[in-house]
């Protein structure tokens, strides 16, 4: 399958401090890629560059023209009703029917006409997903979209993202620091370190994935190892 994203020799420095270092990466069409790494490893910078929000870069990046994003905070405009937020920026008059369809897809059609302030965190994040998907993107960028949600809501929204991805067939780049989340959702998990893709793991487990299956546990241990977190230290054994 053709590549959706092609990155060649991408570098980015902030005030002489190199964050991305000659980075190469391909993402195939319709592929779900998770990007793991410690805080400050450059994963959010990479996502912002792919989003087109940062162009002070070296190297070359090819991305689909139709792409959208959802962020850690929902970033809804508080002065627009929920449905207007969903279709914000689309050409033509605001299309209520289109917004309703997108909201129904994320399961909150009934909240179309309220102000964003009345939404719960999970609901707002769903609206943010609807806003991203209504644009029918070929590439969807997700910057820790579950980070601020409580554990129960997070599970539901993760599942929703999985379903939406299968229905829309867009490529997804999910930035996260949750190893299990990455393994549950992604075809491929990348681990970033010092501005490069340090590890690239293909996850060929059948979906829906079982957190407790031995294969899953093995992959999890491997990823944690790459991240410098051994299963041992997690269990609190004194070193």
């Amino acid at each position: 399958m053709a590549n959706s994203v092609e990155i060649r020799g991408l570098s980015r420095a902030f005030d002489g401090n190199t964050v991305l270092h000659e980075l190469d990466l391909d993402i195939r069409e319709g592929e779900f890629v998770a990007l793991l790494g410690h805080s400050g490893c450059g994963k959010s910078t990479l996502l912002r560059i792919l989003a087109g929000l940062d162009d002070e870069i070296g190297g070359e990046v090819t991305v689909p023209a139709r792409r959208s994003a959802a962020f850690q905070s929902p970033r809804l405009l508080p002065w627009l009703k929920v449905w207007r937020n969903v279709v914000l920026g689309l050409p033509g008059r605001p299309d209520r029917a289109l917004a309703d369809k997108a909201l129904a897809e994320v399961g909150i059609a009934e909240r179309a006409t309220v102000w964003p302030k009345t939404l719960s965190g999970g609901q707002a994040q769903r609206v943010s997903l609807a806003r991203a998907l209504v644009r029918e993107p070929e590439l969807l960028l997700l910057d820790e979209p579950f980070g601020a949600l409580d554990a129960l809501t997070r599970g539901k929204v993760q599942q929703l993202v999985g379903e939406l991805w299968q229905r829309h067939g867009c490529a997804i780049l999910l930035v996260t620091h949750d190893v299990e989340e990455a393994l549950l959702l992604a075809d491929r998990v990348l681990v970033m370190d010092e501005g490069r893709i340090a590890h690239d793991l293909t996850v060929d487990l059948p979906r829906p994935r079982d957190l407790t299956s031995p294969e899953f546990v093995t992959l999890r241990a491997r990823l944690l190892g790459w991240l410098g977190v051994t299963a041992h230290t997690l269990e609190g054994t004194p070193s």
Binding site: L53, S68, F71, R75, L77, P78, W79, G89, W115, K117
Partner: protein, 293 residues
């Protein structure tokens, strides 16, 4: 787990002594919910109680002679003047003349403030050129410009309108500019990501987020407009509330002076009320602390 727990190796806690430790202080939280609803005065009544009480005090001190008329006329006299001057058309005429000055001055000032704040808020070049100048001009007390305005514009309507316009410009400018600049960069980023162009960003993100500040500025601006008018109408006016007041001053008519002050106050209150209604309608999207009962 097969590993040894580090806690097992830790030294034992000291054996309990004979005196039991003093219990940590505790507090009891009692329910504040009442089964029967306590009678409560409506909010509007409570709000009106203060001003009404003060007027009552004024009336009582005047009626008992504690407050002589040469100092302050009694509310009854003021009311009587209000009726008389309304009947002979002097008061409505004065209000119309003053209102016209305030309105024209406000419109000019608001337009200038809006244009300047948009230029300074939206463009870095505009900021560099305009904002520092506005900061400099603001340091000049605008009331102090009255002599200069008379030299420039004569003693007709122009200096009065100019003074109102000037007084209106500053609060509106600084509040709108501040509002534009406090726009959440994350929202701008998200909106750009959703495909909004420069124009759409201004319309859907930057201006709405400047709106709360602009409305605060509007409240200041309207009260400043009336204030500027009081100053402006003290000089060579031949109509308006200030003219009525300076005439009354020559004849020691405290009743007319108080009446004019009351009219200024009422006009100011009416403007403030209008802006509050406007704010409530325009800012329904805000999640704000509404105060405790």
């Amino acid at each position: 787990m097969t590993t040894t727990k580090p806690l097992d190796a830790a030294p034992q806690a000291p054996p309990p002594t004979d005196t039991p430790p003093a219990p940590a202080p505790r507090i009891t939280i009692r329910g504040a919910a009442r089964t029967t609803r306590r009678f409560q005065l409506p909010r509007s009544v409570r709000r009106a109680a203060g001003p009404v009480g003060l007027v009552l005090l004024w009336f009582l001190t005047s009626a008992t002679g504690v407050l002589p008329e040469s100092v302050l006329a009694s509310p009854v006299d003021v009311l009587k003047q209000a009726v008389d001057l309304t009947k002979n058309g002097e008061l409505p005429g004065a209000i119309a003349a003053s209102g016209r000055r305030a309105a024209i001055g406000f419109l000019i000032g608001a337009t200038v403030a809006l244009v300047l704040s948009l230029l300074a808020g939206l463009f870095r070049l505009g900021e560099d050129v305009i904002d520092s100048s506005m900061g400099m001009f603001r340091a000049i007390p605008w009331v102090g410009l009255i002599p200069l305005f008379i030299v420039w514009f004569g003693i007709e309507e122009t200096p009065k309108i100019a003074l109102v316009a000037l007084g209106v410009t500053y609060p509106l400018y600084f509040n709108i500019y501040g509002g534009i600049r406090s726009t959440d960069a994350q929202l701008v980023e998200a909106a750009r990501m959703m495909g909004l162009g420069r124009f759409g960003l201004i319309k859907y993100v930057i201006l709405p987020s400047a709106l709360p500040g602009a409305l605060v500025g509007l409240r200041y601006a309207l009260s400043t407009a009336w204030l500027a008018l009081v100053f402006a109408e003290q000089i060579n006016a031949d109509a308006g509330l200030g003219y009525l007041m300076s005439n009354a001053q020559q004849y020691f008519r405290t009743d007319i002076i108080v009446l004019c002050l009351a009219v200024y106050a009422l006009l100011g209150l009416a403007c403030d009320f209008a802006v509050r209604v406007l704010s409530r309608r325009l800012l329904t999207w805000r999640a704000n602390f509404e105060g405790e009962a």
